[in-house]
């Protein structure tokens, strides 16, 4: 199927998101769509599938003008969309989710579980995955949920599959099997629109790439005829130099010491320390228990044993408010759920963890508050139309910065970052790395949980590797550690040095 | 009246003096405790029909059984500068302040069915609820004999009708009837039905049932259809209630004459504005309406 989107424009109020965008998809190609956070990629796809209406422009499918009434209409015409935000129902089973609103019915109009089950298993087999169809989907890891979304799209016998950030939560092995499937389907004539902030992935899977910036399409070229530098320059509008900043760690005394931390089924006997000015990376496969450890330290979840000491003193942390009082901050993995109040303003979000510092004689001092917020917005270069607009209307990268601002503002001496750059564009990533370095220079101790191996290797001073709830090793990153060393540990192997 | 810093009387209120007025010039404000019940609708009809005949203007408010709503209603009526207030209080103590307000504003108050504990009331038109309860008990003792087992359906807890009818009945029944259970059905026919069914289950040997109003009694009639010998006595004399007595479904009902009450109240107002003396108690008669077979 061939798709041409011509002269598409779209505004939300005063925000001109798309300005005369053109996009062309050919038969049997994988077409990468890249651009900064907020460049309008998801919006363009929403317009294609009829979730949003364009202000102007036209869409041609196989040279015939079309207009879809909605996602279901698009799907019936062979275009299937795997959304960036998980669009599933946590309280429903995997099977119910996969067939939602396209249930197979028998001649009595009743749902035919048996047929659906068989179909689902068939798809699982081609993707080389296996999940229990009766499990509540909300109980599965984000990665598993993502794979199920992908299976759903495969099932619809689509001619075009749109994937918006499909790999943000996947592990390498899952990505490998996903790419295998993509190539397999491409061979059968299926086209893909592939949106991802991971440039290496785009280089590996895509045939062609279109780059958007500020609501325009600025470049379309064959992957074979472009390179990483060109892509980044087109995206960001300037050369950002290296992806990762230089790092000169100067660590001080130990500030955080975790001993024998225990949770019945999530992790066992976890011991580690972090020093002033140090970055301790946490690596591991999905579900290896990294997030759970951080949540236990921060008092979000209850733990079953173990101690946390700060500056050598054992502390009792029963809730996040205790943790904050001890100078710990926590940028959660799931910013939409636990990081932000999406329909509150940027300002209200930023002050949330620092309320008591803004009080003068029992009342909130509005001037102090405004100064505080403005300073942080400026320092973190959060791109926002004022501090009074809803955090939810910012682009992903800027939302992430708002969460960072909240914890930096809270004056955390120990900062836990769980997947700080997930879904963030290269430019914003670089800014976040610079910020992390600046914080460590000021003596802040940082724990960085990340599934992005190059990121962990480039930023961490030491790397803790988790495997199924056990800490395999803490590797010193000063020497010649490679990705495969970490992967070996993360899959249960022994370190080979 | 000077405007004291602290005061309890309304500084803006001006008193009016009694004038003689013809019925056709009168504005009558009526506040009824509720209009969810045929009994009170009959009172309303009695008032409005009598008033319309003489050309008076009438405004009727529904207190919805809420003391608060009623006191707001009465305030609004005082505000509208009606010439006379006819009040059927939700509660006789809670209406007191409003009666006092009316007194201050120089508006005469006539109460129906229940009076006010305080303030000046021109006249109370009522039948004696306690007496009614006694009539019901006497009837039951007469029909069922001494020590008969009976059950009692109570009205909404705390409502004055519940208290007075219950007290009249219970005091008379004491020592003469065996009240095996008392359960509330909130003056409601549906609840009367369910509760009577359950009572019949718990006490299959009861010979009679006293219900503090006809609505609950009618529910009980449906519940006890399989046992038509149970003597059901209601209270109110509502249209449905009297019909049920006529059909022999209920043994008796203590009939008040709500329409009559309304009429008497309006007539008392007319008398007052003619300058005649109005008696402070106008008795509306009670009548025990008995089914043929128990006569």
């Amino acid at each position: 199927m061939k798709i041409d989107m011509l002269g598409i424009s779209k505004s939300f109020g005063n925000n001109h998101v798309l300005r005369d965008v053109n996009f062309h998809l050919d038969n049997a190609e994988v077409h990468a769509l890249m651009g900064e956070n907020g460049a309008g990629k998801s919006t363009l796809m929403n317009i294609l599938t009829g979730l949003l209406n364009a202000d102007s422009g036209q869409i041609l499918v196989d040279d015939k003008e079309v207009h879809f009434n909605g996602p279901k209409d698009a799907e019936e015409h062979g275009i299937s969309f795997i959304h960036q935000e998980m669009n599933n129902f946590g309280e429903m089973t995997v099977l119910e989710n996969m067939f939602l609103n396209k249930e197979v019915k028998n001649k009595w109009g009743m749902i035919d579980e048996k047929t659906m089950r068989a179909e689902a298993l068939k798809i699982f087999q081609t993707l080389n995955i296996n999940y229990n169809l009766n499990a509540m989907i909300g109980d599965l890891s984000i990665g598993a949920q993502q794979m199920i979304e992908i299976s759903k799209a495969m099932m619809s016998e689509a001619k075009v599959i749109i994937m918006d950030e499909p790999t943000a939560a996947l592990t390498n092995s899952e990505i490998t099997s996903l790419f295998k499937t993509v190539n397999h389907l491409k061979a059968q004539g299926v086209s893909f629109i592939y949106i991802s902030h991971r440039i290496e992935e785009n280089m590996e899977i895509a045939d062609k790439i279109t780059i958007m910036r500020d609501g325009h399409t600025v470049d379309e070229s064959f992957i074979s005829e472009t390179n990483v530098e060109k892509i980044v320059t087109n995206m960001v509008g300037r050369d950002i130099g290296d992806f990762y900043p230089e790092r000169h760690a100067e660590t001080g005394k130990t500030v955080l010491e975790v001993t024998h931390l225990e949770s019945n089924d999530k992790f066992h006997d976890i011991n580690f320390t972090v020093k002033e000015g140090e970055i301790l990376g946490f690596s591991g496969l999905m579900g290896s228990g990294r997030t759970e450890i951080m949540r236990a330290i921060f008092g979000v979840d209850h733990r079953n044993g173990g101690d946390v000491a700060i500056n050598g003193n054992k502390v009792k942390i029963m809730s996040p408010s205790d943790a904050i009082n001890q100078g710990i901050g926590f940028v959660t993995e799931n910013r939409k759920d636990e990081g932000l109040i999406l329909d509150f303003s940027v300002s209200e979000n930023i002050i949330m963890a620092s309320l008591k510092d803004l009080v003068k004689k029992h009342f909130i001092d509005e001037k102090v508050k405004d100064d505080f917020v403005n300073l942080l917005v400026k320092r973190l270069t959060i791109k926002t139309d004022g501090t009074n607009i809803d955090a939810g209307s910012l682009s992903g990268g800027n939302q992430q910065k708002v969460v960072l601002a909240k914890w930096i503002g809270a004056g955390s001496k120990i900062l836990i970052l769980d997947e700080p750059t997930r879904g963030v564009d290269v430019g914003a990533k670089r800014e976040i790395y610079d910020l992390i370095n600046e914080l460590t220079n000021r003596g802040v101790a940082i724990i960085m949980v990340s599934s992005d191996l190059p990121e962990v290797l480039a930023m961490s001073d030491r790397i803790a590797v988790m495997y199924e709830g056990n800490m395999m090793a803490i590797v010193d990153n000063s020497s010649h550690v490679t990705e495969s060393d970490i992967m070996t540990l993360a899959t249960g192997g022994k370190a080979n040095d | 009246s000077g405007r004291a810093v602290f005061s309890i009387s309304n500084p803006f209120q001006t008193n009016t003096v009694l004038q003689h007025k013809k019925p056709s010039e009168l504005k009558i404000g009526v506040s009824l405790s509720t209009l969810n019940n045929p009994f009170f609708i009959s009172i309303k009809q009695g008032v409005t029909e009598t008033a319309k005949k003489s050309g008076s203007k009438v405004q009727v408010y529904d207190g919805q059984n809420s003391t608060n709503k009623q006191s707001n209603d009465v305030e609004d009526l005082i505000q509208k500068k009606v010439d006379v207030l006819i009040i059927n209080p939700v509660d006789s103590s809670a209406i007191t302040p409003e009666v006092k307000s009316a007194n201050e504003a120089g508006i005469p108050v006539i109460t129906i069915d229940r009076s006010s504990d305080g303030g000046k009331v021109l006249s109370l038109v009522a039948s004696d609820s306690k007496e009614g309860g006694k009539m019901a008990a006497d009837f039951m003792i007469k029909t069922l004999g001494e020590k008969a087992k009976i059950a009692e359906l109570q009205g909404t807890p705390g409502a004055s009708a519940t208290r007075e009818r219950g007290a009249g009945f219970d005091n008379t029944a004491k020592g003469h009837l065996d009240i095996v259970t008392k359960q509330t059905a909130n003056f409601d026919r549906t609840e009367g039905l369910n509760t009577a069914e359950n009572i019949a289950q718990a006490h299959p040997d009861i010979k009679g049932l006293f219900s503090q109003n006809d609505e609950m009694a009618l529910g009980a009639v449906q519940a006890l259809k399989s046992n038509p010998d149970i003597v059901i006595v209601g209270f109110d004399g509502s249209v449905d209630g009297i019909n049920a007595v006529k059909k022999g479904q209920m043994a008796a009902t203590v009939a008040q004459k709500p329409k009559e009450m309304g009429k008497l109240a309006v007539q008392a107002a007319y008398k007052y504005f003619k300058g005649e003396k109005v008696s402070s108690q106008i008795k509306s008669p009670l009548e025990l309406i008995v089914a043929d077979k128990y006569k």
Partner: protein
């Protein structure tokens, strides 16, 4: 990936879940059994088959309304107007029967009218974007007022009603020894059970409550589905109304006052979450039975009316807390 270990984990998890689910279905059932046991000990005549049938008949009205309410609550909504719909439609049907319309037709019209009133709720909520709580609070007031205007505050009784066999049969009849209202309740339960658990409409209902935005993206016609759900609630309320007027041999203008709270309590006692997306209609049946047993039992035992309210409130709290604990 270490697929075997992970698989084992998943399998175990799923097993745990199944057991939990069954337990969570059993929670209310257990509460019901305990209640029944206590009542029986205090007054053995509770178990009299006569009383049990009696109890079931008393439950039927709340049951029917609560079944409809289950759909509404599953979408995360609420319908406070059920009692008022009951009153208005049953007054309408009673009036029609009185003026000579054949009973069945009059009742059918009443039920269809109930569906329309429910649809009105649905439109205000979907098209108007009003919160279900306030929308149905407002329509409750309107429908109740309309009933008073329509009946002039008087109950409607007539010879025509009393002489119609069908009219009497609906609320007071027996079919093979089982009260007709009970049969109506069970048939409705069966139909709605199928609708909710075996047909796509049910999936849509759960999806709406689980994640409305995702439901929209999945192509579910959110507004239409929701409106239909309020229609169902209206239909169930008016159907309950038909049973009520037959049982009382009259239509009361203030019938159904407070029924919304009993229905909501039944739904929640049955384990359905007020946030939507989670629950089962079987639980609602049990919830309605718990409330019925409570009322019937306290009457049988002879608890004074003042204390009945306290006991009822405490039982509701205990049941809800137990259910929450189990999930945590």
């Amino acid at each position: 990936m270490t697929s075997t270990r992970n698989e084992q984990k998943v399998v175990k998890e799923v097993k745990d879940r199944k057991i939990l689910q069954q337990l969570s279905g059993l929670g209310p059932v257990l509460a019901l059994i305990v209640l029944a046991l206590i009542t029986t000990v205090m007054n053995p005549s509770f178990l009299d088959p006569n009383n049990l049938l009696n109890l079931l008949r008393q439950v039927s009205i709340n049951g029917l309304i609560a079944f409809g309410m289950t759909f509404v609550i599953l979408t995360g909504g609420i319908d406070l107007s059920v009692g008022a719909i009951l009153a208005l439609t049953s007054a309408l049907s009673a009036m029609m029967i009185t003026s000579g319309v054949p009973t069945l037709i009059a009742m059918l019209i009443g039920i269809v009218f109930g569906g329309l009133l429910g649809g009105l709720n649905g439109l205000i909520i979907t098209k108007g974007g009003a919160a279900p709580f306030i929308a149905s609070l407002a329509t409750m007031t309107i429908f109740r007022g309309a009933t008073y205007v329509f009946t002039n505050g008087n109950p409607i009784t007539s010879k025509a009603m009393n002489n119609s066999f069908i009219f009497q049969f609906i609320g007071r009849g027996y079919f093979f020894g089982i009260p007709v209202p009970v049969i109506i309740m069970l048939i409705s339960f069966f139909i709605l059970y199928i609708l909710l658990h075996k047909m796509t409409f049910g999936r849509k209902t759960y999806a709406l409550g689980g994640n409305e935005k995702a439901a929209f993206v999945s192509g579910i016609k959110v507004n239409i589905t929701k409106t239909w759900i309020y229609v169902i609630s209206g239909i169930m309320s008016s159907a309950a109304g038909m049973i009520l007027i037959s049982r009382l041999s009259s239509a009361q203008p203030d019938a159904g006052t407070g029924f919304e709270m009993d229905a909501i309590a039944a739904v929640v006692l049955g384990g359905t979450s007020l946030a939507g997306g989670r629950g089962r209609i079987f639980g609602t049946l049990i919830g309605a039975l718990i409330i019925g047993t409570l009322n019937n039992g306290m009457n049988l035992i002879g608890i004074s009316s003042f204390y009945q309210q306290i006991v009822k409130g405490i039982v509701i709290i205990i049941a809800v807390l137990l259910d929450r604990r189990k999930k945590a």
